[in-house]
Homo-oligomer: 404 residues x 4
């Protein structure tokens, strides 16, 4: 039962962002025995015994529309947000430098104005249409896999949030979708879904950590099943929404009536800058706001705002004011303030998702991985938002494997 020496590729869309560069720093530090895997769910004792890929087996690559290196990204993030000791960065320098060579220019058919303004023109592979974009992406993925002789690759989308995208009848089956892939106006698919298509079509697992469309398309689920690969998503649950899905069940189980739930989020990283564009923000607020009604079973008044406050950098700060009614109509209040570093919260979950998706694919599963619901604000194929019940789904999945 000796473990074959696997080599794994972790390909991130948005490879130079805060989350992905923190993933890279963390993988390198932990592979070299520096620090502890705090924040990684798969490092909990409950996951011992699973055939998860060891961290030193990971090689990082990805697409980004900005210029730069992982080392630059980490140094900028560390300095602006007052995180990372010099020793952590120094120890990862060689890996970050090597992995930066695996980062390819992003493919763009029609990005929106805010994203385009941030992009360095030389870091874009222009595509004539969706079909062309998929080919370009697949070329990059194949080249990455071959050059490093990777046994398995997983693609994770950690790029900035896209505006909402409306699905049509043509997105309901792979056959119909393939017919419109060459269409430019309106585009057949947004960028996040083109990357998903490209990966799944190559039999590569795809995880969507953002609220963008990604693989949340019936035609792409069909593609995943056909190519025997897996999908997980969407929108990583890292801060305010995590707390919502932890606290709301308490109100439900105690029969306390939530009258209103107000959540204000402020932060200043690049993701925040993109969200400052109201069109992009719409996707995010939507996934953040939906969970409450699902858990309590009625519709309290809710308000969710996300605002870009430059000085906060990566420190996502949320204030939530929960007004609830108790016995005999008395109104009471719970408030919380969350001060979390966005990349630090997200990065270990990206590694968890990569490991768990790779494992599932090796075990022969295909399509949407519902047992990963606890990681997402909008879990694909799952209507349960209660974090503790979602966590049980994952525990049950692990227990079933270990019991075999």
């Amino acid at each position: 039962m000796a473990q074959p020496p696997r080599k794994i590729g972790l390909w991130m869309i948005g490879a130079l962002g805060g989350v992905s560069s923190t993933v890279a720093l963390g993988l390198s530090n932990l592979a070299h025995g520096l620090g502890n895997p705090t924040g990684m769910v798969t490092a909990l004792p409950a996951f011992d015994g699973l055939d998860l890929d060891a961290l030193p087996t990971f090689i990082v690559g990805g697409h980004d529309i900005r210029a730069g290196t992982l080392l630059d990204a980490i140094e900028e993030l560390g300095q602006r947000s007052s995180i990372f000791h010099p020793a952590q960065v120094a120890a990862a320098k060689d890996d970050l430098t090597a992995w930066s060579h695996n980062i390819r220019p992003g493919c763009v058919v029609s990005a929106n104005a805010t994203i385009t303004a941030m992009a360095d023109a030389r870091r874009i592979q222009p595509a004539q249409d969706g079909r062309h974009a998929i080919q370009l992406i697949q070329t990059d993925l194949r080249e990455f896999q071959e050059r490093h002789q990777l046994d398995q690759v997983v693609v994770v989308n950690v790029a900035s949030t896209e505006p909402p995208f409306e699905l049509t009848a043509a997105h309901q089956s792979l056959g119909e979708l393939n017919k419109i892939l060459g269409q430019v106006t309106p585009p057949a698919l947004p960028a996040s879904a083109l990357y998903a298509y490209a990966a799944l079509d190559l039999g590569i697992a795809y995880v969507n950590f953002t609220p963008s469309l990604g693989a949340s398309v019936p035609a792409l689920e069909e593609l995943a099943r056909e190519r025997k690969t897996v999908i997980a998503g969407k929108d990583g649950k890292t801060g305010e929404t995590l707390l919502k899905t932890v606290l709301a069940p308490m109100f439900a189980q105690r029969n306390l009536k939530v009258l209103s739930w107000v959540g204000h989020n402020i932060f200043g990283n690049r993701d925040g800058q993109v969200l400052n564009d109201p069109v992009n923000k719409a996707s995010k607020v939507k996934t953040k706001d939906a969970v409450l009604q699902s858990i309590v079973g009625y519709k309290p008044q809710t308000l969710v705002s996300i605002e870009y406050i430059e000085s906060l950098d990566d420190w996502k700060t949320a204030w939530d004011h929960i007004h609830f009614e108790g016995f005999l109509g008395v109104k009471m209040i719970l408030q919380f303030t969350w001060q979390g570093c966005d990349s630090i919260l997200a990065a270990p979950l990206v590694i968890d998702l990569a490991r768990l998706a790779l494992l599932s694919q090796r075990r022969g599963e295909s399509g949407v991985l519902q047992h990963l619901a606890c990681f997402f604000k909008s879990p694909m194929g799952v209507s349960e938002h209660d974090f503790h019940r979602q966590s049980e789904m994952l525990r049950d999945y692990v227990a079933a494997i270990l019991a075999m």
Copy 2:
């Protein structure tokens, strides 16, 4: 399967306190169709189909060492804490007046100084020793049951917190305990346990909503099993500790390391006045502080304070500061402020516990009711503190009955 027209007695120790008078107001209002059972767990749809006692079947009585009526108590509480509309109080006036006749002077062998100072001397039944006190209490309970021709009675302790009490070898079996009941110095049992003994010995269910000793004595558990009655306790989980046991599992499941958890509680009701005596406070802080280590599996630095701030009256306000470490050693912070009205949070749970204990006894159960763990800070016989897992224990219990 017609429900026999039962008559139920709810006997509260500390009958004129905020919690008990709110229980009485709520039972009366709901029996007369005023308001909704918000805050009552047993009013949730999941409990439909259980043979729980309807609220109009309850008659209230109890012991208290203070003079006064339930109506006085409610009016004072309502005015001081800005709760209750005049219409709510007016509608309950007749019931509160009638039930006040069921309130008997408390039995005191050796109450401590703070409690004694608050007591009206005329409202105390002096007892020579524990055995005598039990007899006096039982006389009151029997008289209550006979006068109102009650089918079943449940005793709930909602009196002020006692100082900690150390158990000895003599408390390990009923036989040994009975031998020392006449002992005065040191006393064989504190007041809360004498009430428990008296009730259990009569085959009456006993619920301890406070951190006092109550029935948490092996000899008393033996007594309960022998008399075919049930015990539940201890220390109702209504506010800050409830939140702790909801939030701590999130940190555990996300592998985020809790570095320190500081909780400051301030409030100004009579319970707070008693807790201002450091000897009494010790019991409370102990049950509040133990839960965290049990859930996360290690011992973070913790600090719990409870302070009496007169102007807050019944509004128990807590500030918790949770310092935690995430990926790559980054420290982050969650703070919450809880503004809950103590009596309003506790009262519906007292009714829930009474109904569930009565049901269990009728079903032939005896001894500690472990499935009620989710209601308590220090659940008897249960080491699980995770609120969601505790809630599942209750759900499973209900589901098993409904499946029969």
Copy 3:
């Protein structure tokens, strides 16, 4: 030095709102010796010795576009926001009933859609144009003064916030303004300014407690001086902005650099409903946001939101997050949460302003009362926003009178 037995009229625009009905309740309660004048600045010892009008001399009247009585308004406010004891309301019943007869239908030339939807059609005096509206208002004011044989009247605007109004060249002098008063499209003046014109033209003092235009028009200042009457405004400083103007000077004096100041305000009273209309909200956010730059001398990033959360009723709750830089570039944070009852905070200041304006007019002053700056978010004629310096202006004014 005997005080002549004066009779004073306090005429409020928006007479049935939360602020005005609380003013009426307070005037009545205090006149009958019930309670203390907590929250009234002019009740401080520093104001002893001034010839301020005693509270029992006040008779209340006003305009409103809604139907109802002061008693209804107070009972609704008290019940929804859990304030006022029954005894307080009962003691004021006669006064509130009598004063309700002094409330006249509001004059409307062109109110905007949200306000119109809330108005009861029968409670509007339709005016053909501004000149006509002024006549109708003046008829009401004269009738009030004559019927009650009032020595002096003061008009205070506490009506809902209007949309911003742009001044033109015609508003710079009274002569030019008079020429366009008959103009309907665009209207010569918004409602708040028509009320101001009507009052000032009769030599009546006018205080604007709202961010609406009111008397903030050069032509109306000219009118006030000409008619020997006084003006004060605008936008009462009661909660979050008060705190801003108290805290910002601390950062300035300690040379701590404010990086960003985020303020989120939520509340659920009628004022909030009107502000939910983005056009009306614009006026409010503008006066709330301007103060910071003025105090610290540079422009930090600021964000101010005001949102209508129905369950909060009159409890205006604000969360402010202040991010600041200290020595050696270290970023630190101050957060505050303010839970204030809007009408309760505003009402005593309305009484203060009425008393101080009446005094100034009797002393022969005319035009803008700059020494009242500490009461306003946008003090007329004063660029100083530091609350403590504004308070000194008032102290100096009082000291100068007392020194005579």
Copy 4:
């Protein structure tokens, strides 16, 4: 009017603590043109034109009972509290190394147990009695002054807090005090006052930034006047108390009645460790708690706690809950959370105080410098605690000099 090229010595008691090492880092960085003097009051434009000592003229020295260097101290503080960029520390390396040679072992007659436990035995100059200690300290001060040919020296106490010390009749005059200086049990003076005596006796200015006794002794004020030098203190006002003295005046000026003011402080630096000893904590809580009554003119219920929470390091976090009554008896709430880095807040004020004390001495002033009240929790010789009025005292002082 050419400025003579002065050389200034800044001698700190507790030279290796967080405050003093941050002072040293800041003086060096600013002298080399790195960063801005944010947080330094004397860097405000209002102080332009005063003959304050330029930062490059300062040379640092001091006493400490611990071993180590300023560079070690800064690196430990920076790493534990996630402050300081590597570039800041690197630029100061030479200065910190040079100045560390000016640090002498602390003199101890009778330090209490907690402090002694932290001390490195080799870093103590044992003194037989107070008179001997003063001689040893003076030898160190003279040697510092001569070796660096300093024009002027100022001593600032930033050492850990001592237990309270009761003054007797012998402390009321210098003559009497001198008679008991040789007394060991009880000691004539605590350590902080021996340092003060030593400095003042040499004609050196003494500033007490801690709540310890320092120069708050009539006999020492006499000594200062006799030797023509100046005193300032005590207990730097940097965080929660600063906010108290900024906010309390608002409640007073608005006639809002403070019902209770609760302040909980948590932090984890060495100062916190010393304060964890209840005897030392008493001094601190006393100076923090006294200010409120002085400002509002009555005694609300107050509660101040200071607790050592290791994980917070230098981040002093305070939660304050202010319960206040407004018009018609309605209770409202203001809460704030302060997250300040202790050394970062204190260090620039130490530099300010040094500069202002040196200036005053040169100008021929002697004794207590009352115009520095705004810097202190317990300003010597001043009963005014309102921060804004204290700030005016400083502004008036500066204006008077500039007007000459």
